[in-house]
Symmetry: C3
Subunit: 268 residues, 3 copies
């Protein structure tokens, strides 16, 4: 099964899908570089007047609301609407929905009105969207726990989507099938943008794989394994500047062997 997930990464490398991203300005550079690293072709096309034209060219759309300017908000609505009409995969990263009610309303509306392939947040964000109590601190989640599974299942069922909640254990569910992934070093939380990058990779995976549960899993697993290897490489001198550089290195250097041997994945 893990070999099948690796097959998705291989397909990204071969097909080099064009991923359109409307994403936050904090980690926009990281998302572009990680998409290159995994083998995709990034295009951070987000201007209101351009997103509808560009989505015709793109293989999938990545939406991240970390810095939701007024123009971005309008652009996101236009882009998701058109992507939905053109049946192009859409991946949403609902940054901050646990902290800001207006963001939660915005994302729930997108989930209600359009076909969203994957919604990937931290466990606090996914719980919040599922209508459960969430312990969040700003844009960070303060817990995962067993109810993250319930949240993913409920959210996925309600909106006919795949929900992925990252945390100590990452949970991914399409409402019926559920996956748990236990890769990922604590160092990943010392670098901004890791969650955003997982979302971007998920959009690349969704561009080449119709089973969005597997697409999401391949993305989460890639970052988890790259994070594990990077952590080992700086074991003697753990520090976030060097770690961050090594994350990009290790996403690029993933091999089937590393991927299969290191994966800590459980299917339910």
């Amino acid at each position: 099964m893990t070999k099948e997930l690796w097959g998705i990464i291989k397909k990204i490398r071969t097909r080099k899908p064009l991923i359109q991203a409307i994403t936050n300005y904090v980690t926009i550079n990281d998302c572009a570089n990680i998409l290159l690293g995994i083998g995709a072709s990034p295009a951070m096309c987000e201007a209101k007047d351009e997103v509808e034209d560009f989505i015709e060219l793109a293989d999938s759309l990545y939406i991240n609301i970390g810095t939701l300017t007024r123009e971005q908000k309008e652009a996101i609505c236009l882009a998701v609407k058109k992507a939905s009409r053109l049946k192009k995969p859409v991946v949403i990263d609902p940054v901050g929905v646990g902290a800001l009610y207006t963001r939660k309303t915005f994302i729930l509306k997108l989930l209600e009105e359009y076909e969203i392939s994957i919604i990937k947040g931290n466990s606090g964000e996914i719980k919040s969207l599922a209508g459960m109590d969430a312990n969040v601190k700003g844009v960070d989640s303060m817990d995962d726990g067993p109810d993250a599974v319930d949240a993913c299942k409920a959210l996925a069922k309600k909106f006919n989507t795949v929900a992925a909640a990252t945390g100590k254990t990452d949970i991914i569910s399409d409402g019926n099938r559920t996956i748990r992934i236990k890769n990922g070093s604590p160092m990943l939380t010392m670098v901004t943008g890791v969650g955003c990058m997982v979302g971007a990779i998920a959009a690349a995976a969704a561009a080449v794989e119709n089973d969005f549960l597997k697409a999401a899993a391949s993305a989460v697993l890639s970052m988890g394994i790259a994070g594990d290897i990077a952590a080992e490489e700086i074991e003697e001198n753990p520090a976030p500047g060097t770690y961050r550089v090594k994350l990009f290195d290790n996403i690029y250097s993933l091999t089937e062997d590393k991927f299969v041997k290191r994966s800590k994945i459980e299917w339910e």
Copy 2:
């Protein structure tokens, strides 16, 4: 006394204060990463429609006007007003006030109308705000000199704030007490965003320490010392790409021992 400043960094690490930043797009990623590195929790929440809601959750507010879009300008006014009302610390980085009259007017108005905990600029910017002649080149300062001390004192007194002017010697004053810090390698000027990062750390410090003079000093000193260590680590092959990575590493790896032994600080 330096031990007391180190205590502020320790408090950041323990309490992990939530810092809201409205900052420029050039170094927004650096500011987020340096806040994580020092132990705080960054949230670059800057959309006009969101800043007032978010400041209720935040422990302090960092304002940096390096790329002052129209929406940011409006967001800053709303955020500072509400932070002031809620008595949350506000740190301002007045990027470019020496070059652009409109920016100077904008910042002086904020200083007049609201309680600003710390205003941290390069010496040219601080002189300019203090109404003195400043030798600036775009967003960079071309001199410090003894009148930087006068500028800090005057600005701090006039607006009942703490003024910090970075330069060869960093000056920090609350109008009565004045601190000089002589740490910091010339390599720091070869990397964009060092000043912005100092401001962000100052906002984290102000979130855990009410004596804003000390809060500002702990931030300036942290970056100066991390900069010194990073410069030593690349002594044989000085180059800004590697140096930048090591800055993040060394902010994260600061210890009481390094902090106390390496500090070049003078109290007046």
Copy 3:
């Protein structure tokens, strides 16, 4: 001749020209850091209300339309108009004109109405502006080929400018003289922003050298040679995170010796 191009880099280091950039949010930090690395003084001043005031201080203007928000679009028009009136060099990076018709129209209008010193894109973008068929994928070019030379010549002649098309072989032409540069590792395509950084360096070069053909060539050559050295340094373990860091290191560490010995340049 290559020595003369190196002389331009030396002049940047000596004069430290102030470069105003209105550029995309993906690589805005990279552009600022590469300008520092080459010896210039960057100022990412892009707010609509500020660009006209700032251009009076700047030595040249760099325009990059990678994320063309509405405010940026208006700011670019104001800035280019005033720079043109003040006879300050303007360098344009027409990101995405091969994919988006609206961007192409926007750039062609700037070329028609104002004096543009250098227009630097990938070969697909330059072909597209020259009215030729271009094989592009989003913001990337899928081919160069011999017609890139024709495209550069035609575009340069038509708009009385210097056209530079990057690709496996980089082409630069002012309509009469044409230069081919064959430096540059394939690793350069694994890092986002390399093209943008070349454009930013070209703006720095144009600030100190009136022969814009030579200015453009010195910029393209600098990045190509830095890219070659960086690739050799990571030969045993090629990976884009480390490579990117080494690009900044090697731009900063360029010497006349490296520049002259390594240049693969042909004059026509």
